[in-house]
Structure formats: C-alpha cells, structure tokens
C-alpha cells in the first residue's frame, strides 16, 4: 500500500519536473533575439517541412469530412424540411470546431511526430552536442525555427481544411443531392460571422499549433537518446498533443461560445 502511494507521489513529481523542464525549455527557445538573415531561410525550410508537406493529408481529410458533413447534414435536416440550412451547418461546424481540431490532430500525427523523431535522432547521433561545441545554440538553431513553423503553419492549414471541407460539403449537398445553390451559400453568408466564428476558429488553431509544436520539439529534445527512447517520445508527442488539443478545445469553446 505504501509502495503504491510512493509510486503515485513519484509519478506526480515526474510530471511536475517534466512540466518545469518544458517551461524552461520554452523560455530558452523564445528568449533568443531572432536574426532575420540566418533565421528566415531556416524558418521557411521548416514551414515547408511541417506545413506544405502536410497539405496533402489536410486537403484530402478536409474534403472527405466536408462530404460526410454534407451527407449527414442532408439526411438529418431533410427530415425537418430544412435542407437549405446545410450550408450554414457545414460552415459553422468546420470553422468553429472541426477545422482547428481535426487539423491539429492530423498535424500532431503527421508533422509533430516527424519533428520529435528528427530532433530525437539528432540528439542520439550527437548532432545537437556537436552544434553546442561549435558555439551554436541548438535551441535557437534547430528548435526555434521548428516551433515557429508549427505556430505559423497550423492556422493556415486549418483555414485550408475548412475551405476544402465547405467545398466538399457543397459537392455533396448541391451537386449531388440537389440543394439549391443560392440558399446553400446565402444561408452560410448570413449566419457565419467573421469575428465570432472565423476568427475564433483561427485563434483556436493558433493555440493548437503552438501547443502541438511545443510538445513535439520538447519531446524530441528531452527524449532518452536511444531507439526505444525516440519511439516512446514520438508516441508521447501524438498522445499528449491529441489530449491537449481536445482538452483545450473544450476550454476555448467554453470561453468563446459559452454565453450562458
């Protein structure tokens, strides 16, 4: 019994220590003064790696989710004879919730895991150490561009996801099931508010992008530099990022839309 209490305490201490390390790590990454000449090309390369290369999975997922929303929405709304509201339903669902959340989950799986594995492997093969010994801070050279790239790429990906999703919903709703195109777009336009809906969705995706990128680079930097360590860090990145995104989504939704 005492052993169990002790192990619970140890777990608690480990979690607190890990949170403390990640906070110090973040401060170390963000404290550097950006050097535009050297930093910008590194940032662009990372935006390409985490953003542009994630486009395919985001676009395809967005298309299918939009199409499914079109189908389900039509089935449900036509029972009440209000299938013309399908446009606003799809748009609100996507820009408020599914766009930021699903993109963040995809981002964690596609780009976050890659970031963790890359940084972890750089640690295991002493590339980070050798950089330090050359007088180059790996936090600024390796980690910072990746963190900022995630932060920048995620909202853009989420917006693309929502746009493609709406187009997918239109394909099913209007082109296939025959909802009147004017009411599809008109209802959407009248009910989706730029600040309340679109911007709140963008704010969500900014937060998710930051959290996912932070978790990914920290797990890579903090991993045990062995193959088992990297594997465990990659898993943790996906699991922690997904849980953090879903948890934060609830909190943000409550703050943004919970006018009770």
């Amino acid at each position: 019994m005492l052993d169990r209490i002790a192990s619970l305490g140890r777990l608690g201490l480990d979690i607190v220590a890990s949170l403390g390390r990640s906070g110090r790590f973040l401060a170390g990454v963000l404290s550097g003064v950006p050097r535009p000449v050297t930093g910008f090309p590194l940032l662009v390369r990372q935006i390409y790696a985490v953003g542009v290369l994630s486009l395919a999975i985001v676009v395809v997922s967005g298309l299918f989710i939009g199409m499914v929303l079109g189908l389900q929405g039509y089935t449900i709304l036509s029972d009440y004879g209000s299938e013309s509201a399908i446009g606003q339903m799809i748009a609100l669902t996507l820009v408020r919730e599914l766009g930021p959340v699903v993109t963040a989950l995809l981002f964690a799986g596609r780009a976050g895991s890659a970031l963790t594995a890359e940084i972890g492997l750089m640690k295991a093969t002493e590339q980070l150490s050798s950089m330090e010994m050359m007088g180059v801070d790996p936090l600024r050279r390796v980690v910072a561009p990746r963190l900022w790239a995630g932060f920048i790429a995620m909202p853009v990906l989420a917006v693309i996801f929502s746009v493609v999703g709406i187009w997918g919903g239109m394909l099913v709703g209007v082109e296939w099931l025959g909802v009147f195109e004017g009411s599809f777009w008109g209802n959407m336009q009248s009910s989706v508010d730029f600040l309340d809906d679109v911007m709140n969705g963008v704010i969500k995706s900014v937060v998710f992008g930051f959290v996912c990128a932070w978790i990914a680079v920290f797990q890579g930097y903090d991993c045990v530099p062995t193959s088992a360590g990297i594997s465990s860090a990659t898993t943790k990145t996906v699991v922690y990022s997904s849980l953090a995104v879903l948890g934060l989504d609830f909190v943000l939704t409550a703050v943004m839309f919970g006018d009770f």
């Binding site: 050297t38 093969t125 002493e126 590339q127 150490s129 050798s130 330090e132 010994m133 050359m134 007088g135 180059v136 801070d137 050279r141």
Partner: protein, 269 residues
C-alpha cells in the same frame, strides 16, 4: 607544466544519477601538445571532455581552459570560448541533412561573414587536409565510418581552433582508417600548433602519437606522464591496463556472492 597548461582541472568532483564519476580529479593538459586520456570503458573519459567543453558542470572543483573558469562562464562567453575549441565526436556527428561540403562550411557560415568564394576555398583546403576534397558532394549517409570521422575532423578544424578534443577516434576503425587518423592527428597537431586532447582506450595507437598520457580509473588519475614514464609505471593497475591483462587489480569477475551459495551448495536447504 603548470605555467604552460592550456587546460587545468583541479579537485574536480562530478556525479551523475547518484554515481560518483570523478572523485577529486586533478589534471593539467599542456599547450601545443597531444595529451592522451586513457582508461577502461565507463570511467568517464567522454564526461571529462564534456566538462572541459562546458556541456556539463562539476559538483565542485575548478575547470580552466586558457585561463577561463569554464563552469562560471556566462552563456555568451562560453559559446565564444567554444569557437576556439574543436571536438571530434565518436560518431562523427555530421549533420545528416547537409552534404560533406556544407557540413564543413557550417561553422564558417555561422561564425564568420566571409564571402562565399572564400568559404569555398577554406572548405576545400580543410577537406584536402583530411584527403577528402573529392568527396565534397557526398551526403553523410554515403560515407564509411572512417570517412565520416575525417569529414568531422575537417569540420572541427574549420575555424582554426586552439584546442581539439578527440572522443575515441580509433574505436571501431579498420587498420587503414586507424592509420589515417593517427597520421592526421599527429600532422594537424604539428602543422597547426593545436593543443590536442585524445580520449581513447586504444593503448598502442594513443601512446604512439601522444606527448603525455594519463590513465583514469575509479574516478581518479592512477598514472600520468610521458609514454615512456607510463610504460615503466610501478602501479599494477596501470600495467594491467596498458598490457591488456584480463585479470589483476581490476578483477575478471564481477562482484558476486559466494559461488557455493549460487550453485546451491554450502549447506543451504
């Protein structure tokens, strides 16, 4: 050698994960010479290099490099000091996303504002020094182990450092690659006037090129001096290490309880 010491460690104590690795180690590394630090695996030879490079801080004691007290240096001063240090890692630690040329050019691009054509010439000269000018277009994944270390060596001398630290440069190398590395370490030291610190457990190769050597075991220096002095050292532990004897002061058997008990003999029911 006190006044000409480039690196000076005094009463350094260092523990990690509850294990004491150095228990008051004192060591001077002379300027402009090759000093070999030898010892059995797991005695903390690489840790010693990391203490010198400021990647680790000792629990107590002093680590001085070129008159600077490394553990007390602020981050910026430490990074400036490191520009005078080169380190050859055991794995080479080349950046896998950069070509051989770009790996060697990396420290030049980061720390200098030299024009591109000058960087090009310096990189080719450094690669020429290690015999790999023709391999500049290759990626690290296309290199053999020996070539990787030679490229890493070219990279670590790119900024013309004052000090170069070699972490197990001969480990896992074939005889030709080993011969090449021995020649390179000796030639670079004499031609560039470097202070070289060589961490290794390859006794013949290390003793053949070093001016001074010291042997570390159990967290302390157990023998130090020129190769000749070490070969004539009275300590049994030093002789066991130098001659590679399987049994001696360092026992062949890992500590265990009585054999009779382990085999179920000796009156146990």
């Amino acid at each position: 050698m006190g006044s000409t010491a480039y690196i000076s460690l005094k009463d350094v104590v260092f523990s990690r994960s509850g294990r004491r690795i150095f228990d008051g180690i004192t060591l001077d590394i002379p300027r402009g010479k090759i000093t070999a630090i030898m010892g059995p695996s797991g005695t903390g030879k690489t840790t010693l290099l990391r203490l010198i490079g400021g990647q680790l801080r000792p629990d107590s004691g002093s680590v001085q490099v070129d008159g600077h007290e490394v553990p007390r240096l602020k981050r910026k001063a430490l990074y400036t000091l490191r520009e005078k240090m080169g380190m050859l890692f055991q794995s080479g630690a080349l950046f896998t996303d950069l070509s051989v040329f770009e790996n060697v050019a990396f420290p030049l691009r980061v720390h200098t504002k030299l024009p591109e054509d000058m960087i090009h010439d310096i990189v080719l000269m450094k690669l020429e020094a290690v015999g790999l000018r023709g391999a500049r277009h290759l990626m690290p994944s296309e290199l053999s182990g020996g070539m990787t270390r030679r490229v890493a060596l070219a990279r670590s001398i790119a900024l013309d450092p004052e000090l170069i630290m070699y972490d197990e440069p001969f480990a896992g190398q074939d005889p030709i690659a080993m011969g090449v590395l021995v020649k390179l370490i000796r030639d670079l030291n004499s031609s560039m006037g470097l202070t070289s610190v060589l961490v290794s457990h390859d006794v013949p190769e290390s003793l053949s090129i070093c001016h001074y050597a010291c042997i570390i075991a159990d967290g302390k220096v157990i023998g130090a001096g020129t190769p000749e002095e070490l070969k004539a050292h009275p300590s049994d532990q030093v002789q066991q290490f130098l001659q590679g004897q399987p049994d001696g002061p360092v026992p062949f058997h890992y500590p265990a309880k009585d054999a009779g008990q382990d085999y179920g003999l000796g009156g146990h029911t």
